[in-house]
Structure formats: C-alpha cells, structure tokens
Symmetry: C2
C-alpha cells in the first residue's frame, strides 16, 4: 500500500486547522509510520475567506460538507465541525453511503446517533473512528477498545471536561464563587458557544456514554446518563470538602450493576490524595478498571488544537495502516440494549445542612438518619451565627434512596433550615 490516503476535512476550527498543520509539517513522519503518504485533498468550512493562518490553497474547496463527503477523490472523511444533527449528521451519513471511512471528533453526534451510524458503516464495510471525541489527546478509546479488549470492564470513571475542572480548581485556588469563575472562563473563551454543554455536564456525559458502549458492549444510551452540572457547586462546599480531605470534581462513572448499566455525570467528592483528586486545571483523567488488568489511569490534555488533532490523526494513521475496527469495538448488531440503573451502587455521601439553633436539633437529625438506615462516619459542627449552625456529615456507604428519605425527614422537622446539600463520595 503505497498509494496515498486522501483526506477530506469538514470544519476548519481549532481541531481542523490542527489536523492541517500536522499533515503539512509531519508529512515524512506520517508516511513512514503509516506506510503510505497521507494527503489532504479537499476541505469545507463556513467561511472560505477567513484567514486561518495556514496555507489552504492546495486543497479543493467545498461550501457544502455533504458534497465534500461524496467526492470520489477522498478516502477518509474527517468531521470536525460539531453539532448533533444538521450538516454534521448529513455529511457523516453521506460519507458512509459513498464508501468513505469516517474520523470524527463529534461526541454529540455519536452519543445521539452512534448506533445507527455504526450500523450503517458496518453494513457498508466502512469504519467510524472517534478517538478525538473523548478526552482530547488521551488514547482512551484505543486503550479501551483494543488495549483492554481481553478484560471484562468493571468500571469507567473520569474527569472528562477540562473546562469544568478548570472552574472547580480555580474556585478553590482563588476562593471565588462559581458565577465569578464562570464569567471569567467564558470571557477567556474556555467555554463552548453554549456554555451549558460544558457546565451542565452534557459534553462530558456524551463522552461517558461513548466509553460505556465500548466498555460494556451496550448500545450508546446518552439519555440514560444521570446528569448534574457544576452550577450548584458552592465555594462553601469546596472549602468544607477540602477541610475533610476531599476535592469536588465533575465525575463520570459507568459501571454494570445487577440492576442494569449505571451511568452518572455529576459533581462528586474524591479523596484529595487520589490521582483524580490531584487533577488540576483543564487536564482530563480517565480510569479504566478491568478484571484482569486491574486499574489503568490515563491522564493528559482533554482539549486544544494539538491534542485533539493528534487524536484525529491517530485514527487516520490506523486507517492508513489497514486497521479496521467496529465503531464500538464489536459489531453494532451485537451491542446490547440494557436497563439503566440510577445510582444503585451504595456510596458514602457528604451532607451539609444548616441546623436551627435549638436544643436537641442535632439529635433529631441523627435520629432521622438512623431511621432511614444511614449511618454516620464523621460529623462536624462549626462556627455558627445567631440563628443557624452549619453541620457537615460524612455517611458510611448508603443508597441515594435511603439518603433522600432522610432528607425528606429533615424537611418535616423544624430544626433544619433550607435544603441540605448532598454530594456522593466516589472512591477510586
């Protein structure tokens, strides 16, 4: 195979331009490693005239990515536009229908339409690869699909949105409330055009749903991800958690339970000394657990031009080398539909509430917890004003159902002021 592998790139934002730069500057390296030259043939983006800082004159231009996807002179369609429908979906479908392999960085599209796209690709004898869609430059899709393929995967856990991790670590370091840091991050351009994709946990949940499918051999089920963003994380909880030896992270967890597949993306406490607890700023970390391999931890940049383009090009090189894999690691038709199990696995919880300053208040709270079957690991009462005394509780392992019953019980008393905060503690 010395014929060149010909690329069509749809989308010339950060990632697309990163791909162009690698192809232009590393031509010899890519050819040596891939065993054949890798060439860009055609490109497409919204604006043809925009100066993107790289020479694009050698490539054919298409206004419409669907037209690009159908060109006879490309072998691989690279979709780095984004969007969970519209041109991204239409062009990906067109590429497959016209016999192209697809390399995609589009987590939203795959999280919502992955099953149909994977099936279409396999029916057409084409592949869809998406390393760049999850955790930027970290080869996590490859590690899970290939490196750990001999394992029953027991759990996938990780920090998969750098912007959220940046906001949470910045809140802690600077002692600033959420809204201030959010505004700062937004002004710096760290957030998506629709910031809710980041801070609402949606982007990270897309990634988790994709990893779940590979890990457990199940159909991608993004709507089943139990989702909670970081908007409700207060500086008070970050401080109190730190004081008890924890960090708050937007954590994705996927595990197969007796009741079905549990997928969660939500703020959790992790021990500050754990690898996840020590993760600073925009870095991502994914922990893969398998029955034979034990625990594998992968860390790296979760976004950015270079890292994401590196992942796109890794998929391209795989295709150039002749590697052909099913989209989710096994034929789409063999992926199982499974029940969603919502947080059925017991865990310790961090609970913070304001106790009204009355005699017997604490014993009432303790009694309600005991009645709900929630036992207390640690309790701490700290400096209080005239009317309310903040109380922190770390429970022993309990179910969310039991904890919710206790919280309902608090509301029926007159000793707890306002709704308590309850955050799951996830052990590594």
């Amino acid at each position: 195979m010395t014929n060149p592998l010909r690329l069509g790139i749809a989308g010339l934002g950060t990632v697309g331009i990163g791909v162009v730069k690698i192809v232009q500057t590393h031509a010899d390296l890519l050819a040596t490693r891939a065993g054949r030259p890798i060439e860009i043939v055609a490109i497409s983006a919204r604006s043809r005239s925009k100066d993107r800082g790289v020479d694009l004159t050698g490539y054919a231009w298409e206004d419409d990515p669907v037209t690009l996807a159908k060109r006879d002179d490309i072998d691989v369609f690279i979709e780095v536009m984004g969007g969970d429908s519209g041109p991204a979906k239409a062009s990906t479908e067109a590429a497959i229908a016209s016999g192209k392999d697809v390399v995609s960085a589009n987590k939203a599209l795959l999280a919502l339409h992955g099953q149909a796209l994977a099936q279409a690709a396999e029916d057409a004898g084409r592949v869809i690869r998406f390393e760049a869609a999850v955790a930027g430059g970290i080869p996590v899709v490859k590690s899970l699909t290939e490196g750990l393929a001999a394992n029953v995967i027991t759990r996938v856990i990780g920090v998969m949105n750098g912007s959220c991790n940046y906001i949470l670590t910045r809140m802690e370091d600077a002692g600033l409330p959420y809204q201030d840091v959010f505004d700062e991050a937004n002004a710096l351009g760290y957030l998506e055009a629709d910031p809710e994709l980041d801070v609402g946990g949606i982007d990270a949940a897309h990634k988790l749903a994709l990893l779940s499918s590979i890990a457990f051999g199940t159909r991608v089920d993004f709507p089943a991800v139990e989702l909670e963003g970081i908007g409700s994380v207060s500086i008070e909880d970050i401080r109190q958690a730190a004081d008890m030896g924890y960090k708050i992270k937007l954590l994705g967890v996927a595990q197969m339970t007796g009741r079905g597949l549990e997928q969660r993306m939500s703020p959790c406490l992790v021990p500050e000394t754990s690898p996840l607890g020590q993760l600073q700023g925009g870095t991502n970390m994914v922990v893969l657990e398998g029955d034979a391999v034990g625990q594998i931890v992968l860390r790296g940049a979760g976004a950015g031009e270079g890292p994401t383009a590196s992942a796109v090009m890794a998929d391209v090189i795989d295709i150039a080398r002749g590697t052909r894999l099913s989209t989710f690691g096994q034929p789409a038709s063999t992926l199982r539909k499974v029940r969603a199990a919502q947080a059925s696995v017991a865990a310790p919880y961090y609970v913070r509430m304001e106790l009204v300053d009355k005699p017997g208040a604490l014993s009432k709270v303790a009694a309600i917890l005991a009645d709900a079957g929630v036992s207390i690991d640690r309790m701490r009462q700290y400096g209080h004003d005239d009317t309310a005394a903040p109380v922190l509780i770390v429970t022993h392992k309990t179910t969310r159902t039991a904890l919710d019953a206790a919280i309902e019980g608090f509301a029926r008393t007159d000793v707890v002021s306002g709704p308590p905060v309850a955050i799951r503690i996830e052990a590594e």
Copy 2:
C-alpha cells in the same frame, strides 16, 4: 473471518497460565470483540506434570517450543518463557520462519535481537507484537505506536520496574536500609531468579530501549542505555531527598538530543508532588511527550498474572481483528542507527557530601563548584558529629561533565570526606 484464531503458548509460568485463564473464562467476550473465536491448540513448558491449577488436557503438548512454533495448526505463537537467547530466540525465529505471527512478553530477547527479529518478521509478512514486554497491563506500546503516531515524540520517561519501586518506597516508609528490604523482597518472591535483572535496572532498561525505538524511529540499542541500579541508593539519601521535597525513583528517560539519542535508566530525584513522585509500591508509570499531544501519563500494574496476560491477549485480539503493524511502528529497514548521547541534557543535581569539620570547608566547596560552572540553588548543612558535617546541595541545571569536574576538585582538597553522592533531578 469467522475461522478461529489458533494459539500455541510456549511457557506456562505466571503469564502463560494467565493467558490460559483468560481464553478459558472469556471465550464469548473474546469472540465477540475479536470477531472470531480464539482457541488454544498447543502448549509447551519445562515440566509437563506440574499442577498449574488449570485444565490443560484439551491442548496438544510439545516438549520443545521450537516444535510448537512450527506446528501447522497454530496461527499465533505466544512466547512467554523469557530468556534473551536459547529456546526463546530459537522458537521465535522458528515461528516466523514457518509463517506464524508472534506475541511476546520477552523484553530481553527483543531488546537484544529486536532489529533482526523485526526484519525477519516483515520479510516473512508476519507481525511481532510485544505489549506485555513493557509495563505489564498498561497499553503503552499501543499508545506510543498508534495513539501518538502523529507526534514527533520529544521524551519518554517512566518507572518501569515495579520491584525497584517497591523496594524504594518500602525503604522510605519503613526507614529500612537497602539490603534489608532487598532480602525481604527476595524472600517474598518479588524479584527475578537473577535479582540483578531487577535491581540492576537491566529489566527496566530493556523496556526503555524498546520504547525508544518506537518513539524515535531508531534501531533498538539496549547496550547504549546508560545504566545504574538502585543498589547504591541509601536510606540516608531517601530521607534527605524527602526532606527537600523529592522522592528517589529508578527512572528511565529517553530523548533525542542534538548530539544523539539519550537513554538512561538510573536513580533520579523527582518532585514528591509530581505523578511520578507519588507512585507507590509495584505500580508502573510511563509519561509520553509529543509535540502535538503534550504530555500523556499512563499508570497501572507493571507485572502480575492478570495485567501481563491482559496485554498478551490485547495483542492476540489485534491479530484476530486483522490489525497488522510493523514491530516498532515503522518498517524495520527504516529504523535509523543513531549515536548515543550520554546525559548531555543539563539538569539540576542533588549532591550530598561529608565536610571535614574545619574552618573554611564550606567556602572551599562553594568555590570549587563555582570554578566548574556549577551554580547552587539550595544548600543545607545539618546535624553533625565530631569529625564530619553532612552537606546537601541542590544545583541549578548543569551538565554531568561539569559536576564531575567539581567532584574531582573536591577529591583534591582535604575538606570533603569520602566520595560525594550525586543524583540527577528529573523534572516532569
């Protein structure tokens, strides 16, 4: 491809039995993921009668691994015997010559004969894969060969021998001298039959040489690895390093410099807060740095039945799926011969020496360092007995040559008692 992939396993030690267990217990999972059944057809080991705790009655037995390698009814020869020559080499060569693909966990064989074996395999149209030879279950060969294939690799750094890391962390935790912990580890069976392979850094250097070849597109050059074991690491240095915020690790470093390829496996100081500094016990960690992807950190179990068998089987599944890669990521004929550059990259150093208790001793030492062009970042003098005062120095970045000149200078004075200890500080 629904015809089974047929395996012959040479070696039924920990790793071989781990492979048997995965094939026996995960048959359906492997078939689903690989797209075809994976079967063991024949096995070979030193003793046929030994009880290994698994049922081997369904497999053909060969006393001679070379005969096993030549059998017509196997597709993949799995070499998990070990040894850098003898039966391991003969059977691997026989497998290739008779048209088999090879999956090997044998770092010594590949570090010494990798170029010839890779060339032979490629000439015969066969592949040799060796994920299990480096860092156990961590998919580091895959990450480097495939996941980061679009990058100019700038550095590979890591802790690649779990036994050494166990000894060093145990020395620190228990406050025990090297020999005590060595004896303990040996009694517990943590060390190779020839412990020098572990504590002399040889095993880890084999792994580093293999990663270097992939990273830099160079011929495996194990003899060029600058090698120093952990036998000379004293509890005193571990304590003093800790006091200054460092841990001592047996660290492998490979980087391409202006003067050639630098490969080192030696005790180094790393910041205690860094991922490498926090690595406890038998765990391995490899840090890969690329021009596009930045820094990728991989952590996991570096040895043991499950993790190593997981890596062997990942290679087997790749072959079952039809993935065909050059042994070192590019054709063997394109791997370059390069000059070896010994520690030419400047670094800060930790220096410990005993100063004779004389007026002006410290100023003499400082003057010698200044004359050699070595500048001091931090100096600390601590509790001393009647005749000698221990002094710790952390230098600014300097070359080993300049530092050696200073150390020679010390020897020509009458103020330094005995040879100083000098350990490189490696930043992540």
